[in-house]
């Protein structure tokens, strides 16, 4: 007891998190004490901080390390997912640079809140216990609620923030209730201990109830059907760079958490949770595909698109094999990169009177801005899953894993859903190329947005040429999670 009291806990595994937290607070101080500090200055600071954290993550060893009494875990899986969330968050900051100045909510807290949300995501990814899971999730969610309502003079943004907050609180409540049941019926909050108890005593009815509630809470965070209701409204109401952020990083972190809970704490209950995952996967794919058809607002359409993409990623989770897991990771990377590119194109939709969001406004883009139109069309083909673009490979790996696991109906429904989804993606291409031209957008797009769009497009187009690094990385991460 005396020794434990005097020794400092090993904090080295959490060094990236600590640097991120301290850096975000330092930026906050910088913003507060500097007169007239703009978001551009703290954005650049946040990007430098992200680069530093990424460097720390890359040099971190790959083997599994536990810290803080087992509630914090670092391994190849966490490293992969953290780098991906960091990339998505950095893209969102870059995309917000010119937008928030034009829309008149240029306040320095914006990139800092994104940084703190990223810290929450890191904690979610590294969570190895129910309390750590909840703390990370709330840290992330709180920052996201504020970011959603950040444009406070815009009623739609505040509505989005409030809606997200209330439904998020409901989801957190369900998650907590499930956690308390799991703790009560297994006697531990740490994932490995829970797994050991269930492996020894079998799945009790209380633990099954618990996992149902925890999955409901997590499904809300990845906006999987039937917990998706908030997604279209929040995506539509929030400012576009915020929507781009919501569609990327938080989904990655929540998916990482879902994987950690399912494979870290409940590998012995696979028969039970597999049914749930198959159900929400099919429901998300189908609803996302059909509900998007009638949309006229491009952000709502992308919301439904992200719902169905989460359904596709869950196909790999349902497979429950290392191949399935690898497929999920590859899918998430490709999804995040494609999504960033698409939102860059949405950000290019600005006229003199402001940003527009209707799909019909894209008409004639092929004549006014042929390059942007071409890239958006290419990204749409990729989202629809047309080979040889990257989106095809994402779907290919998860469906292959589902077939190997013997889940033929799931794979067939998935392929059919992606055919339905192709309709609304290709409708955008048709509007851009064949409809009567609408008023042109302001040109050219800001340099930093063009850069993100370029990187995203090159990745999407040329992924099939050299896919090895990503596949190997995902493979290594997946094996790290699988015992």
């Amino acid at each position: 007891m005396e020794e434990a009291a005097s020794s400092v806990p090993a904090i080295l595994p959490a060094l990236p998190e600590i640097v991120l937290a301290v850096g975000a607070m330092a930026l906050l101080m910088f913003g507060v004490f500097r007169e007239g500090c703009t978001a551009r200055e703290t954005s650049i600071g946040a990007l430098i901080l992200f680069v530093l954290v990424a460097a720390l993550l890359i040099v971190e060893p790959n083997e599994r390390v536990l810290a803080f009494g087992g509630s914090f875990v670092v391994d190849g899986f966490t490293k992969f997912m953290k780098l991906l969330t960091l990339l998505a968050a950095a893209a969102a900051i870059v995309m917000s640079l010119s937008f928030i100045r034009r829309e008149g909510f240029d306040r320095f807290e914006f990139p800092i809140l994104i940084g703190l949300a990223t810290l929450g995501m890191f904690m979610m990814i590294s969570a190895n216990g129910l309390i750590a899971l909840y703390m990370g999730l709330e840290l992330q969610s709180f920052a996201l609620y504020v970011i959603a309502a950040f444009h406070r003079d815009n009623t739609r943004a505040t509505e989005a923030g409030l809606k997200y907050f209330i439904l998020g609180a409901l989801a957190s409540g369900m998650l907590l209730y499930g956690s308390s049941l799991i703790y009560g019926f297994t006697g531990s909050v740490e994932f490995p201990a829970i797994a050991a108890v269930i492996a020894a005593d079998g799945a009790s009815i209380g633990a099954i109830f618990g996992i149902v509630f925890v999955l409901a809470g997590l499904a809300f965070k990845i906006s999987a059907v039937p917990f998706h209701m908030w997604t279209p409204d929040v995506y539509e109401g929030a400012p576009t760079p915020v929507t781009a952020f919501f569609a990327g990083a938080p989904k990655v972190a929540a998916m990482a958490l879902l994987l950690r809970v399912l494979f870290g704490a409940f590998p012995a209950m696979e028969d039970q949770w597999q049914q749930i995952v198959i159900f929400i996967s099919i429901a998300s794919m189908v609803l996302g595909a059909f509900a998007a058809i009638g949309q006229t607002n491009i952000k709502r359409l992308l919301a439904y698109s992200s719902i169905s993409h989460m359904g596709f990623a869950l196909v790999g989770v349902a497979a429950g094999s290392p191949e399935g897991l690898r497929g999920v990771l590859i899918y998430l990377v490709i999804y995040v990169v494609m999504n960033a590119g698409v939102f860059c194109c949405v950000l290019a939709m600005n006229r003199k009177e402001g940003y527009v969001e209707n799909i019909a406004d894209l008409a004639g883009l092929s004549r006014h801005q042929p390059m942007v139109a071409f890239l958006l069309a290419m990204l749409m083909f990729s989202l629809a899953g047309v080979p040889p673009l990257a989106g095809f490979f994402g779907k290919f790996y998860v469906f292959m894993a589902a077939i190997e696991a013997g889940l033929y109906p799931l794979a067939v429904i998935g392929v059919l859903a992606s055919v339905v989804g192709a309709y609304y993606y290709l409708r955008i291409v048709k509007i851009m190329y064949f409809d009567d031209p609408a008023e042109p957008f302001e040109q050219p797009m800001p340099g930093e947005i063009a850069a993100v769009l370029g990187v995203s497009s090159v990745f999407t187009m040329l992924f099939f040429v050299y896919p090895a690094p990503l596949i190997m990385g995902a493979q290594a991460a997946a094996t790290a999670l699988f015992p």
Partner: protein, 204 residues
Amino acid sequence: MIATAIAFYLFAAITVAAGFMVIAARNPVHSVLFLILAFFNAAALFVLLGAEFLALILVIVYVGAVAVLFLFVVMMLDVDFAELRQGFLQYLPVGALVGIILLIELVLVFGSWVIAPEAAGIAAAPAPAITEVHNTRALGQIVYTQYVYLFQAAGMILLIAMIGAIVLTLRHKPNVKRQVIRNQVGRKREDAIEMKKVEPGQGL
């Protein structure tokens, strides 16, 4: 041993009596003062149990902050307590019901420990025996050593809540005259006073 028993019954009796006076006193300020008396005696009971940290927290937080806040509210709000008291007795059945439910729940909790003594042992963070490690140290051990990560995470969440409240509600209004101490202190006699030579018999 007998001294502890005497002390316990003394403090417990005063606590109950003060608690009764909180609802029975006519003057709301007196009610708050009796509440403070109840808090102090409850703190003394904690000390008797060896929970000195809780005792101090009770005094600092409840007496130092909460009760004083109550006093402010009672004195500042113009509430007609005599009118509030009308029909006081008709709430008695509901209050009694709540009290009985609470009592049953307490009995169940403690009863389960009596029936299954091992239930207390499977807590995630069992407290060490009070003879080995005193209370403050044991709490510090759990909060600042064992769960330091979660404690710091909770701190970050509160920080975000604070940033969020400021970002979403604080507005800098233009044309608001604020007190700037630096300007006030730096003001010179010449800035404010002008000497005029006034001739006798004439105005300015």
